[in-house]
């Protein structure tokens, strides 16, 4: 860890080398420790520390950038000179907003010393709890236990100064009983909040539920999605639709349907970077404090997230969702939520005459962004429901469905929500479990 005081010393030096050119400096420092186990043995185990300093130089309508992972004097001078050189080469960009002083963000406590100081042996013991649980059943456990400390520091010559340090602990496992698998994970700021035995129980029970999987004919089924799976469904909306850049380019339904009904009355989705029920972080890559943005309000399209560049284009202010300085990459949601309902997983299953329960997805993609048509396959526990009960495990299924259609057909939403990552790890979000009527499965994995 660099520490707040030393980090600002570095950035102050960087700003001082601007010499008449506006400079924005963005520094991240990451310390990742990660243990992976496969089939009951640890096979990869590492610690990786690095930092990334990006310097953006701005003069008039020209901008250039450079980055380095070294913070010695020579490297700092090089990175500023390189950014200025790139700026001189750049074409004039008529839409380039000026650098400005962002208001200070309200501080949030996102750092837990215990997580930051975990040892390799402590991580191994966590993994060992799942391995032991699997061994007791004569089956195999694989998984990953990672802890992360990330500092983010922003400063620019107009006067922005922002610092945050955060921890993350992610513990996940896939348990294999022959070809049948079960999954469970926990994602927290404080590693002490992970109950290893509970994670092991969840994954082992799911792997042992039913023997041989049955074939399920592709078609439309009432489908219950655990929170893990909901993360992948809403990822598509976050990735291709909820950014102002997609709206402005006309590649998102938000370009033509703002203010219109696009989903069911029971669906509300928003982003709130300050809500610590999720993985809050107080400011974006431009140092702008994060604002709450409602994307879908009772089924109506209501908003998208902005950085300073896209905000200037629409004549609004940034919502604090920049992923780079002055829009070299598009603004993105950061800490998404979906409103909970009044159901439970048990109630959803009980109310299903014939349907499917999906634990999670693998390698999903979006072949048609305008209608947010998505595809992907289920994994680690897909079950057939008949007459209100789980009755069999089914072979993994491929879905191909418009997310606008899917979220127009939400029949039930759980009253609880939890912190989840999608398979791609694009977002960390807080989502409930949902039941969707007539969800479209287009194929099955049988071989």
């Amino acid at each position: 860890m660099i520490g707040k005081e030393d980090a600002f010393k570095v950035l102050d030096r960087v700003l001082s080398y601007g010499e008449g050119v506006d400079i924005a400096a963005h520094l991240t420092s990451e310390d990742i420790s990660l243990t992976r186990y496969a089939r009951n043995q640890i096979h990869q185990n590492l610690r990786r520390e690095n930092c990334h300093l990006t310097v953006t130089a701005v003069k008039g309508k020209k901008v250039g950038a450079a980055s380095t992972n070294l913070l010695d004097e020579r490297s700092l001078r090089w990175v500023v000179e390189q950014a200025k050189e790139s700026m001189e080469l750049a074409q004039e960009d008529p839409d380039l907003p000026p650098l400005f002083r962002a208001e200070p963000a309200a501080p949030i406590n996102t750092y837990v010393p215990y997580t930051a100081q975990m040892t390799p042996s402590e991580r191994a013991l966590g993994c060992g709890a799942v391995i032991s649980a699997a061994q007791k059943e004569g089956i195999l456990a694989s998984g990953t236990y990672s802890t992360l400390v990330r500092e983010t520091v922003v400063a620019n010559t107009p006067g922005t100064r922002a610092y945050n340090v955060a921890t993350e602990a992610f513990f996940k496992t896939v348990v294999e009983s022959g070809d049948n698998t079960g999954y469970a994970d926990r994602l927290v700021r404080d590693a002490r909040d992970i109950d290893y035995d509970q994670v092991a129980r969840e994954a082992v029970e799911r792997a042992l539920l039913f023997d041989e999987p049955v074939d399920l004919k592709p078609g439309r089924y009432d489908t219950i999605f655990l929170e893990y799976a909901v993360a992948d469904l809403i990822r598509f909306l976050g990735y291709v639709a909820f950014s102002a850049a997609a709206k402005q380019r006309g590649t998102s339904f938000m370009a033509t349907k703002m203010g219109q009904k696009v989903m069911g009355d029971n669906v509300t989705m928003w982003d709130d970077g300050m809500d610590t029920r999720g993985f809050a972080s107080p400011f974006d890559a431009e140092g702008v404090p994060r604002e709450k943005v409602v994307f879908i309000d009772k089924g109506v399209a209501t908003g998208v997230v902005y950085d300073t560049r896209t905000a200037a284009k629409d004549g609004v202010t940034s919502t604090g969702h920049a992923t780079s300085v002055l829009g070299r990459s598009q603004p993105m949601p950061h800490n998404m939520f979906m409103a909970t309902g009044d159901s439970s997983l048990e109630d959803m299953i009980l109310s299903t005459e014939k349907g499917v329960l999906v634990t999670r997805f693998h390698y999903t993609h979006c072949p048609e962004p305008m209608r947010v048509v998505a595809t992907g396959t289920t994994r680690d526990g897909t079950f057939l429901i008949e007459d209100g009960q789980l009755v069999a495990r089914v072979h993994n299924l491929r879905f191909t469905e418009s997310m606008l259609d899917a979220f127009s057909n939400v029949e039930a939403i759980s009253k609880d929500a939890r912190v989840v990552k999608d398979w791609w790890s694009t977002f960390i979000s807080v989502f409930p479990a949902v039941k969707i009527k007539d969800f479209n499965f287009t194929g099955s994995t049988t071989f």
């Binding site: 185990n45 390799p120 390698y363």
Partner: protein, 475 residues
């Protein structure tokens, strides 16, 4: 070199049975240009050391950008501590490596024009020339051009006495055009990358290509959607390359077969008993891993375990023959590593990765394949890709498609996609175009591992035909 030797020495003193260290210093210059004038020119550098140790039969890895003596000593201590924790859960005696003979060698990517010797102004002008072809064109809402110049200095030392210095370079460029109608937006794109110098970028001729792409993007707005059905599928070379990547390259990674990627990238249907006997594809299908091809984006001199780049037959006459392997896993088949362990940068540990995975050329031409097809579709340029966790069930979307009727290309179709199961699909391959239409496509964004490592690989491919494939699979 001296510092790396010291680090290895400290690791051995602390109990490492084996250790290797990599010093890597990378430099990248990405350039992006938009038709509305926005441009991004930037340069990035990253330098550091990664250390891998084997202690009590278990692995530990640590990396740091701090290259002073104290930090490197600490690095060795940490790697050994991590490996000792790994040993708490190992199978049997754990891992051991057969020793290798010592070597002291150098390798450099053959380059005619060093891409860093070309001024950024010249690169911007080249991209701007291409974009100027479509500026102001009706319906075109966005056009983008990009270029990457990348170089890497790498020094590898192991306690086996392997001393390897490499200087690896690659370049590439791309263009994309989006046409926007009242209720639709359609994009066309082209990009390619190679282990080569600036000469490769100039040969891409983006100025000519972007005109065709813009015309096609506009036509796609009014094109019918690809109908659903089962029909013959003819793929252009870029689509064949991605099909090879996803449904051949990944399944043959032996670490996936052994469950090492279960929690993220997934496993493989290609279980060990299939080696040497399993019919993966039709007799037309011959797939090799070849890290020695000139200009291949997956070419290098030595992998990150110090094994020389080589060519390996993976699928011969449709029969599965071999995996991509490592020093640790190859002995399970009484084999030596075929040099497939690669790491991204200094900060990551090496894993089994693709090199250049190629479908060897056949003896058809694309024209002959189309003339020989009564009813089908021709698809090209990947738009989306999705596979299950065993690499069996796949779904690929494309930017553009055309009907094939009675041996001729017909209407343009949009939003095309096809789906299938890997072995059934490759067994249906009955025509592969020949050398004249075969090239190595650079794929710069292959993701695997935790923390995720995005590596560059290559795929030799030409147009090919697959019979009775399910297409247009949306609903």
């Amino acid at each position: 070199m001296l510092e790396l030797e010291k680090v290895l020495g400290i690791a051995q003193k602390l109990g490492a049975e084996y250790a290797d260290a990599r010093y890597v210093s990378t430099k990248a210059e990405p350039i992006f240009l938009e038709s509305d004038g926005a441009s991004s020119v930037s340069t990035s550098k990253s330098t550091g050391v990664g250390l891998r140790v084997l202690v009590d039969g278990a692995w530990g890895f640590a990396s740091t950008p701090n290259l002073n003596e104290r930090s490197l000593g600490q690095l060795a201590k940490e790697a050994v501590e991590i490996a000792s924790a790994s040993a708490m859960y190992k199978k049997g005696e754990g891992t051991s490596l057969d020793p290798l003979p010592s070597i002291n060698v150098k390798y450099k990517t053959p380059v005619k024009v060093d891409p860093f010797s070309v001024k950024a102004e010249e690169k911007l002008e080249y991209l701007n020339d291409a974009l100027s072809e479509v500026k102001g064109m009706p319906d075109i809402s966005r056009a983008r051009a990009s270029m990457i110049s990348y170089t890497e200095e790498k020094v590898f030392l192991s306690t086996d006495g392997r001393k390897i210095s490499q200087n690896l370079t690659y370049t590439g460029a791309g263009i994309s055009v989006t046409a926007r109608g009242p209720n639709d937006a359609q994009s066309r794109s082209f990009d390619d990358y190679a282990s080569s110098g600036y000469e490769f970028v100039l040969d891409l001729d983006l100025k000519t290509k972007i005109q065709d792409l813009a015309r096609e993007a506009r036509e796609l707005l009014n094109a019918p959607v690809c109908p659903e059905g089962v029909t013959d599928l003819v793929m252009g070379g870029s689509m064949t390359a991605l099909q090879i990547h996803e449904s051949c390259g990944h399944p043959v990674e032996l670490d996936r077969v052994m469950g090492w990627e279960t929690t993220y990238a997934g496993t493989s249907f290609l279980t060990p008993e299939k080696k040497g006997t399993f019919r993966y594809g039709s007799p037309e299908v011959h797939i090799v891993a070849d890290a020695t091809i000139p200009e291949g984006l997956g070419s290098f001199g030595y992998d990150d375990e110090g094994i020389e780049a080589q060519r390996t037959d993976l699928i011969v006459d449709g029969i599965f023959q071999d995996y991509l392997t490592s020093r640790e896993l190859a002995p399970m088949f009484d084999q030596e590593s075929n040099g497939s362990m690669r790491a991204v940068g200094w900060e990551n540990l090496p894993m089994i990765r693709m090199t250049n995975i190629n479908l060897e050329p056949g003896d058809w031409t694309l024209d002959e394949i189309i003339r020989d097809t009564q009813d089908g579709i021709f698809v090209d340029t990947p738009k989306s890709w999705s596979l299950d966790d065993k690499r069996l069930n796949f779904h690929f979307g494309q930017e553009i498609a055309f009907e094939i009727k009675d041996g001729s290309l017909g209407r343009m179709l949009k939003n095309s996609a096809y789906t299938g199961m890997t072995p059934e699909f490759w067994r249906s391959c009955d025509a592969v175009a020949g050398k004249d239409e075969w090239k190595v496509w650079g794929t710069p964004g292959c993701a695997k591992g935790e923390p995720v490592q995005v590596i560059h690989v290559g795929h030799g491919a030409s147009p090919a035909r697959f019979r009775n494939i399910k297409v247009g699979v949306e609903e």
